[in-house]
Amino acid sequence: MIIGRNFLVKINANIGNSAVTSTIEEEVEKMVWATRWGADTVMDLSTGKNIHETREWIIRNSPVPIGTVPIYQALEKVNGKAEELTWELFRDTLIEQAEQGVDYFTIHAGVLLRYVPMTANRVTGIVSRGGSIMAKWCLAHHKENFLYTHFEDICAIMKKYDVAFSLGDGLRPGSIADANDAAQFGELETLGELTKIAWEHDIQVMIEGPGHVPMQMIKENMDKEILDCFEAPFYTLGPLTTDIAPGYDHITSGIGAAQIGWYGCAMLCYVTPKEHLGLPNRDDVKRGVITYKIAAHAADLAKGFPGAQNRDNAMSKARFEFRWEDQFNLALDPDTARSYHDETLPSDNAKVAHFCSMCGPHFCSMKISQDVRDYAKAKGITENDALKRGFEEKSKEFLEKGADVYLDPEKLVSEGS
């Protein structure tokens, strides 16, 4: 699996239990379930007291790279008191996780002391958990972020254990009102500075991006990232293109994700329908992953990625030829495609029928197009002539069948229509 603008757009799924819900057993299945539907990487964002053991199970059973946010666990070790965090404790956490086999670390090293006041007038302040932890630490000690001051020390660990950086956007906007502000873009410039340092150590870097951004402000994010971070792969959370649809934020963010993917974002972090509301369950994970597969694939198509359209073409051909089984099998989510079809036309007959229940047999545009072609071939005339003549005949047939607009599909199938 490779992440970069010149490759397929990748997606990440976040999983992880909390102190109050979900077990290691459930999280392992969530990880397997997420990769089944297309997660290219999985981030284990578990909190609570058994993070170490949970991660062991997830890493050992994962077919894809695992990312973490080590500051979450470091914070557990100081009982949630951000001001008690130290470099030594954080360093031990990095080594602990690197030796378990974590593939990439989100490190919020760009949350600098001078940026923190810039968030004061925001509608939603600092919404990144890692960002708020580091901001709190900076203010409590009135010192520069220790992840920034110890960045070279972190690099030394990364290259020894082959762990990649995902430079965290701790100051990402948490609302449409806060998008593209000085705090967000100031941090992005610092992430660019850190990227150069990491590259001097030959350590791979991704840059994390927003967040909540309206559509007309998305492109600026991608352009600025390419410029300020020297084309390091961008890895964004959505972005969510509106704030008004809790319960549907996989969609509000899928819109932004497709757009930024097209502009060159390399990996899209999924958002589930539970965003802002609760811990996603297995169903939410699937919904989020499928939504993001759609966004990533739409971006691959728009970018003209070689071969990306093969599956679309196969699907369209199957659709035009009414090969229902093939349409289900080619679908990103075959189970849902089949069950939606069967909800209205459950019989096996309907799976060879040249229509679905959306329009019915006589109003199916694809069926009509095929009829026109067949008719033209059989009569040796052009498709336009066929259309004209066909309309006259259909009109006659319509009247002969009693001029009913609604016909019984099952009956038509049995008549061999």
């Binding site: 490779i2 970069g4 397997v32 077919p63 020894k160 350590i203 089984e325 093939d326």
Partner: protein
């Protein structure tokens, strides 16, 4: 509020169903003969007979290879045990490089503390190997190898996603050389020192 912790067991729900009308295919590497790039292949039915140019013809629709991240879970021919983990397919690639050592013990204080805490025994994954780490002075990142012009098995593996005709090995080889070496290598490659897993690639 607290919860009751539980770990996976043989009776745990771990989804292992294959995708409908699909099978796993594995394409051998051409630079590295010990890589098998996994993909999912969807089989398709024939087109219906069409009357054209005075005769009936029935078009065959070839199976479609697609990108697949599901790993061994959707290959029903592979036995998996959640207590053992997935096969460590990168382990050999890593040891073949000769720049990695297996440590005699874990290094972090917290890791040791957890290991010695017998209250956690019921939660542990049993088959943990000792950690791997670069030998003194070595840099084991994929970016480091790429800058030195080394095409690792990991690089050949991921290159498959850019190959339309993946069965043509010469084509594959040329594309890898042109693309991996020519690209500014500003991307993250799959690396897991425990060498367990790679996502399936293809298109």
């Amino acid at each position: 509020m607290s919860k009751k912790e539980s770990i996976p067991s043989l009776s745990s729900k771990i989804t292992r169903d294959a995708f409908p009308a699909s099978k796993k295919i594995y394409v051998n590497g051409s630079i590295h003969n010990n890589i098998k790039v996994a993909m999912r292949e969807i089989s398709l039915s024939d087109s219906k007979p069409m009357f054209s140019n005075g005769e009936f013809s029935k078009e065959k629709n070839h199976p479609l290879p697609v990108y697949d991240t599901s790993g061994p879970y959707t290959d029903t021919e592979i036995d998996l045990d959640v207590k053992e983990g997935v096969p460590r397919i990168r382990e050999q690639w890593i040891f073949d490089r000769g720049d990695v050592q297996r440590l005699s013990d874990i290094s972090s204080d917290f890791g040791k503390e957890r290991l010695l805490n017998s209250d956690l025994d019921h939660l542990r994954f049993e088959h943990i190997k000792k950690p791997l780490c670069a030998k003194e002075g070595a840099n084991v990142s994929q970016m480091h190898y790429a800058k030195k012009g080394i095409i690792t098995p990991e690089m050949e593996y991921v290159q498959s996603e850019r190959i339309k005709n993946y069965r043509n090995t010469n084509h594959l080889l040329n594309r890898i050389l042109a693309s991996i070496l020519g690209l500014k290598f500003q991307m993250k490659l799959r690396r897991n020192l425990f060498g367990m897993k790679l996502p399936e690639e293809g298109q």
